[in-house]
Amino acid sequence: MKLLTCPMNGTRPLSEFVFGGEYRQAPDQLTCTDAEWAAYVHNRSGAPGDKKEWWYHSPSGTWFIAERNTLTDKVTRTYLFGQGNTTQEQGK
């Protein structure tokens, strides 16, 4: 089984984690059109590439962000939400 590194608990087999989907920034729901919202809810950036994803370490209850390439399945880094030092993943 693949290994994944929880920023709090270290490297663990994938069976200890729950996949939480791609981290996505919602459009401003006050200003966006219905079509934009529907696209946000349903559509995904399905093409392979580097993605930011939510992962959850079940035994400790830790959510974190993993940067993973969906083609190679290689994880480049993991960090707690808000601690990635990039602007894209700051919450609303």
Partner: protein, 413 residues
Amino acid sequence: MPLRLLKYALSKEHPAPRFFKAHESLKKSYDVVIIGGGGHGLAAAYYLAKDHGITNVCVLEKGYIGGGNTGRNTTIVRSNYLTPEGVNFYDASVKIYEGLSEELDLNLFYSTRGHFTLAHTESAMRTMRWRAEVNKHVGVESRVVGPDEIAKACPQLDLSCSGQAPILGALYHAPGSVARHDGVAWGYARGADRLGAEIHQNTEVLSIDVKNGKVCGVNTNKGYIETKQVLSAVAGFTPRITEMVDLQTPIVIHPLQACVTEPMKPWLDTILVSGSLHVYVSQSSRGELVMGSSLDPYEVHSTRSTLDFVEGLTAHMLDMFPFLSNVKVVRQWAGMADMTPDFAPIMGKTPIEGFYLDAGWGTWGFKATPISGKTMAQTIANDSAPDLIHSFRLSRFEDYELTGEKGAASVGH
């Protein structure tokens, strides 16, 4: 022995011609370009020619024909879906399948063995009844059966599942069948080739030329093709193609794994599925048990195998068939399933004129091969999707009109 095999014994030269021609190069332009030489793409080419007389068609295949999910699935054909539109669609597919060996003059080993979806919980029983009722209503032979009837059809099955998940009943679907997956691709390839379509293997699409919202050509590793109509029928590669035309879809790729045992004398005559145990299994005409499970839980564009898949699957196989302890798994593999949020395909026209989508097949694409080929051919020929696939249109997501297949949470296949 059938007499038609005699010629092989009597001829000095092997008397069978090529299934499909090897073309030196691509033409400058085609009426229709089909991306993806799997069952769906080849069937579309076949029906474009056969039903609509459109033969200036090429099928572009990055690898070899039938090498994607067509050749990786567990070959189950059934129509016991949950929604009337799903049942009608797959029933039409089953009906074509039944006569397909004759039509294509290739033995697809279409073998109607009956399909049991086992229920281990009351809520699963509810879903079984739901499906049975919709099926019956639409005229498809499905019904809820009790443990006795399951035992009769498959006396080897441990109805208590080794005490882990006793079987309460099942959805029995008489038309449930298996077929030779490779043969379906090859048969359609031969059929399309004979009617004039061209099949190009090792031909990869690099980009799609769209001008003013209209398709006008396709760039390949073997050169540029002019065309006004492009069908994408690439299953697990769909997001890479839709990205070329800047089309957003809900499709996400999850690997779907399967494995096969070494051959043993046939004993399992039916097709069994257990949603709770995440198992589906049938025995092939070679004597191998062909087994699959649920989707991998996260997105990967890869056909890698995992150990936990085969561990989980075999543990559940043992719950069902305790005597298989020393039967050996020979090989495991995976396909890339193009999943949609409502477990139904995406078919038909798109906002880009001349770009047609046949995608979102997830884990159920093989069983739809003939009907998807036929309806997509119809869509391309008329530039309008037939009613049979109206529910599967891409715009349903924007309209919040998802199909109801999602209601049945248990795994299907």
